[in-house]
Symmetry: C2
Subunit: 356 residues, 2 copies
């Protein structure tokens, strides 16, 4: 039987999704304007600040700053007070993407060639470093708006977020390097909590609530909700990488298979495949990216089909969203009803409905 | 005629250099102990924290934390209060080195294979990111020792330091990418101020003085002195890369020529060489690293000899050190005489006497 709370989301009117996207764009415009006002426009432009602007102008949906702004407002805060932190989240996210693309050898991002493909690894790496540094610079603005104590607490949230993300990335890169073929679902979820959930979901909400009601809210209330949401988001991201269309998704389809990325599908496949299939898969994933042929990747696709791995992952994502729906109430207890809280509520369904 | 202040340094007893190195080792031990006490020893070890520890255990001389600790103490501060900032400087410096080695395609560092040669670019890149983040984490400890206001001022110094360094790096990488062959001495010095002087000399001293006497010292007094010192240090570094022995210097000798790095020697050579030599040089530097042959690099060496480019650079370094000597007095006006102030004074001569 379906939980009534879940049902209300699952069965809500169709235009919920349009309302969600409208609101997402609204937060994105706020964040972009804040970034335009705050980012340096000085030298060196050509191989630094122009690349930063270009990267932020063509960046994604702005989900992280949106969650931060929405949470701040839902708990009675003002957008103005959260804008520097929201902008810092967006800059840091893009810093991660630039470095991730180098680490994964990715060729496309947001339907354009990745920065290191256009400008070479050295300049892209340095630009990513600068964006990580710039996110810290944005947090310094909190000193005048929030005072030194709360401003330090925001830094503390960022610090945890950064280290968790980099630890998660180290786990994932280590699996690829070691050609680890015994990743369990629990391993995958632990890595995803670290790599994705903290910085994309949990901390944006924690920071929003911290700014709205400093010292009055136990920020841990967002941890479960953000974890469920983030894990579903990541699984859907991995699914889209396998089945999406490049025009909408913006990255190369099947790129994860070329990169040897350990996804939930691959974890399930390793558990289900016959010893012979497993050996072949292990051999294939152990080779460098450029030595994986298209027909071999097709063979992996067929295997994923045979063992219904994608359906398995999608079912897990749905379960996680059900859990997120249940956790939403306590995470946002005491928050004001309105567009901001509604946005976060609608984000749950969006996690699996999105196609890009 | 030689300035008496310079004469006192240039003619000081021979064991000055031994005293300098002793003191440098003393500060290094203090910093290493602080790092041992503060760095995480948790998972993921293998592809993250073990690499960080290994990198810091085999790191260089610890000049930056030494300058910070010495300045703090010379102005009446306590080592304990400056140790987190000194440790943060050392971790950030090593983060830069890990990324620089990727950007420059360097193969050796401190006489060992570089991290990306041992573990691949993805893991080295991520570890460098983590070290940049860890330096910020160390600065958070200042909150309890220095209070929120001074702790924020230290962050502000770090912020300026980071952005200047990354801007300088962008300039240098841009020159290599564009195969710029019209770099003037002034261009080189401007880039060096950004890339080296701020983070290696000026800010370590500014931060030390800030911690010792918050709000009581105009920190800009260190800018000139640190610039002269840093520029001389960088020129000597470039000279050592050409003429040093790998055992002592720890990097590949002549590596800069393979990397096409724009040094003062190269800037002077471009000005002095005949049009024909210049064309040949430009063609050579325009090719990718692996397409520069040893005999072609030998030809560049001969050209550097012909135009006395190394002597030219060494003379400039000496002039800069004379200027540093003149600026030392006003930078350390009001500081206590003793081992700490003497260490900074002795560092001037060390900049060109060092062979590694």
């Amino acid at each position: 039987m379906i939980d009534p709370a879940i049902a209300s989301v699952v069965n809500s009117p169709v235009d919920d999704s349009a309302a969600f996207v409208d609101r997402l764009n609204y937060y994105r415009d706020l964040t972009r304007q804040a970034l335009k006002d705050r980012l340096p426009t000085k030298e060196p432009r050509r191989y630094l600040y122009d690349l930063v602007s270009g990267c932020l102008d063509n960046s994604g949906k702005g989900l992280r700053p949106a969650l931060c702004l929405a949470t701040a407002r839902a708990f009675g805060g003002r957008y103005e007070d959260a804008l520097d932190s929201a902008a810092a989240l967006e800059v840091l996210h893009n810093a991660f993407l630039v470095h991730d693309d180098i680490e994964d050898g990715s060729e496309f991002r947001h339907a354009r060639p990745t920065m290191h493909r256009q400008y070479g690894i050295p300049i892209a790496l340095n630009t990513g470093d600068a964006m990580q540094a710039m996110s810290m610079r944005l947090l310094r603005n909190n000193l005048s708006t929030l005072g030194p104590h709360v401003a330090w607490q925001v830094v503390s949230e960022f610090d945890h977020m950064l280290m968790e993300s980099l630890e998660g990335q180290a786990m994932e890169l280590g699996w690829v390097r070691d050609n680890a073929c015994d990743i369990s679902e629990a391993d995958y979820l632990r890595m995803t909590l670290k790599k994705t959930c903290w910085y994309s979901f949990i901390h944006p909400m924690r920071i929003g609530a911290l700014i709205a009601r400093p010292g009055q809210i136990d920020l841990d209330r967002f941890n479960e909700f953000g974890y469920f949401l983030g894990a579903a988001f990541q699984i859907q991201d991995d699914v889209l990488n396998l089945v999406g269309s490049r025009d909408r998704y913006g990255k190369e389809i099947g790129g994860d298979l070329y990169e040897g990325k350990r996804t939930l599908m691959l974890a399930q496949l390793f558990e289900q495949a016959s010893p012979q299939e497993k050996r072949k898969l292990q051999d294939l994933l152990g080779r460098p990216r450029q030595r994986r042929l298209p027909r071999e990747i097709d063979w992996v696709y067929d295997l994923l089909k045979k063992y219904r791995s994608i359906e398995f992952a999608q079912a897990r994502a749905r379960e996680l969203l059900d859990a997120a729906q249940s956790a939403f109430g306590s995470a946002f207890e005491g928050a004001q009803d309105g567009d901001d809280k509604a946005f976060v509520g609608r984000s749950i369904r969006y996690m699996i409905e999105r196609s890009s």
